[in-house]
């Protein structure tokens, strides 16, 4: 099997969602690393630069995904970040209603509401990594 061109870091404390994402991304030809929480994510980021990050919004800390996204962009603004969140289905809160200020702060390249269809994620990845 040929070496995948791109590595994606998946950050999610929902072990099932993370594994499903891993399987479908691998099948689509990507290299995948998984971090099950903020701490593991920081560790993974120190170990090497991923080509793209897919992170859950709420993990152990309510806004863990936001903070992580902010930090990734601070270190390397060229890494695209996709945030996934079950907030909409759990609370009815929608992210298209957040203010421009907040959006500027978050800096995520895409925010997808869970349940996410895997084709949708792959479409977003191809948009953000055109050479993939």
């Amino acid at each position: 099997m040929q070496q995948p061109k791109h590595t994606i870091l998946v950050i999610d404390d929902d072990i099932d969602f993370a594994q499903q994402l891993q399987i479908s991304l691998k099948a689509a030809g990507f290299g995948v690393r998984i971090a099950f929480g903020e701490q593991e994510a920081e560790q993974a980021l120190r170990e090497g630069r991923p080509d793209l990050v897919i992170s859950d919004l709420m993990m152990e800390h309510m806004d863990g995904g936001f903070v992580l996204c902010h930090r990734i962009k601070q270190q390397d603004p060229t890494i695209p970040v996709i945030l996934t969140t079950a907030v909409t289905s759990a609370t009815g809160m929608r992210f298209d209603t957040i203010s421009a200020d907040e959006r500027a702060w978050v800096k995520a390249d895409a925010i997808l509401a869970k349940p996410v269809r895997f084709e949708q994620i792959i479409r977003e990845i191809r948009r953000l990594l055109p050479e993939a």
Partner: protein, 387 residues
């Protein structure tokens, strides 16, 4: 804390209104049983028509209503109040205590009567009675609202807890459907294992929920008989033995002799199974679970000690809530319904007992349940807070 009750006086005689207002202005009622003091905020109206207008703006909680008024009568006013579904207590004031008026007013929901002429003391007594009723009603409303709120919360968390495994299993099935060629054998096994695990978790949740409903509703017939808790415990230990063996966790139980009490066998099994399976689940590999059952004075103690991950005081504080699962790096892979300890606590209460926990992070936890063997037969306590 002093609360205020809004009172409207409707009477066409200015002297009556003034006297009533003067009697009640400085009046305060104290209900130590309800931990409440009540003062009064007073308004006046000279006719039924004016009274209805003031009711709209002032929203009185108590209406002192003269029956004999120049325009519409007191009964007409009462009619309107019923029609408009305004909630307030009405005390009818009648010059002649006519039986007919009394019956009609009662049918219209008047709370009480006051016959003219009345003394200030009689007025105060009547108002005091109405105030007490008002407070009781409000407390009952608050309780009912709280109960609805708790029930709603319970159901929404439950819905979420049931939705999560469905979403997980659905995701795996979709993968199997869409990627039959793209999946490695090892991934395939992973997909099946996780799906089965989530299904098992869901089944456990449903069973726990049934246990909880039975305890809460008091519908389950309790079969109280003399049982040796040590013998029951041996069977429960056998049940958890396989999952302990996989991780080389040693189960220690060295009873000195039988511990007999009057109990429902099923309930004791639920308590022991929950505590023992938790002690295994949250243990480390090669760890140990120690069970002791002993009679100490008038109590029977069940203690389960593990050598597991332990909890911080903050985590311990949240532990007994429904659907509470302590979420951290170490518990991520562990499945549970979040109902087990809540069930254990309710069962302990059935036996006049309690459950408590002593825990050190990284070292382990001891869960202690004590039961009172003597007055254990009062199943009524089970029926009280239904969610």
């Amino acid at each position: 804390m002093t609360e205020t009750m809004r009172v409207l006086i409707v009477d066409d005689e200015p002297g009556m209104r003034l006297a009533t207002e003067r009697t009640l202005r400085q009046f305060q009622v104290d209900f130590p049983d309800l931990e409440a003091k009540l003062g009064f905020d007073l308004r006046q109206a000279a006719s039924g028509e004016e009274g209805l207008e003031v009711i709209q703006s002032f929203r009185p909680q108590l209406l002192l209503l003269d029956h004999k008024l120049p325009g519409m009568s007191g009964l007409d006013v009462l009619d309107r109040i019923v029609e408009q579904k305004i909630e307030l207590l009405t005390v009818m004031i009648t010059a002649y205590a006519s039986l007919e008026t009394a019956i009609r007013a009662t049918k219209l929901g008047a709370f009480d009567f006051l016959a003219k002429p009345f003394t200030p003391e009689e007025l105060r007594m009547t108002v005091r009675k109405a105030a007490h009723h008002h407070l009781l009603q409000r407390r009952a409303d608050e309780l009912a609202r709280e109960k609805r709120q708790i029930r709603f919360q319970f159901l929404s968390v439950l819905a979420h807890e049931l939705k999560a495994p469905i979403a997980a299993i659905e995701g795996y099935l979709c993968l199997l459907k869409d990627l039959p060629a793209g999946m490695e054998p090892q991934q395939f096994a992973q997909v099946i294992d996780r799906s089965l695990l989530r299904l098992e978790g869901m089944r456990k949740l449903i069973f726990d929920l049934l246990d909880l409903t039975r305890i809460e509703s008091g519908q389950k017939k309790r079969e109280l008989a003399e049982h040796d808790l040590v013998a029951i415990a041996r069977l429960c230990l056998e049940t958890v033995q396989p999952s302990a063996a996989v991780r080389r966790i040693e189960l220690v139980f060295e009873p000195i002799g039988p511990v007999v009490m009057t109990a429902d066998r099923g309930e004791i099994e639920i308590i022991l199974n929950n505590l023992l399976s938790n002690a295994v689940k949250y243990n480390r590999d090669d760890g140990r679970v120690t069970l002791t059952i002993a009679r100490e004075a008038d109590r029977i103690w069940i203690r389960v000690t593990d050598t597991g991950i332990g909890m911080t005081p903050e985590e311990v504080g949240r532990l007994f809530g429904e659907f509470v699962r302590i979420k951290n790096e170490q518990t991520r892979m562990i499945l549970g319904s979040g109902l087990g300890l809540s069930i254990v606590r309710r069962l302990a209460h059935l036996y006049g007992g309690e459950v408590s926990v002593d825990s050190t992070p990284g070292e382990g936890s001891t869960f202690s349940v004590w039961l009172a063997p003597a007055d254990c037969c009062d199943a009524k306590t089970a029926t009280e807070p239904a969610v």
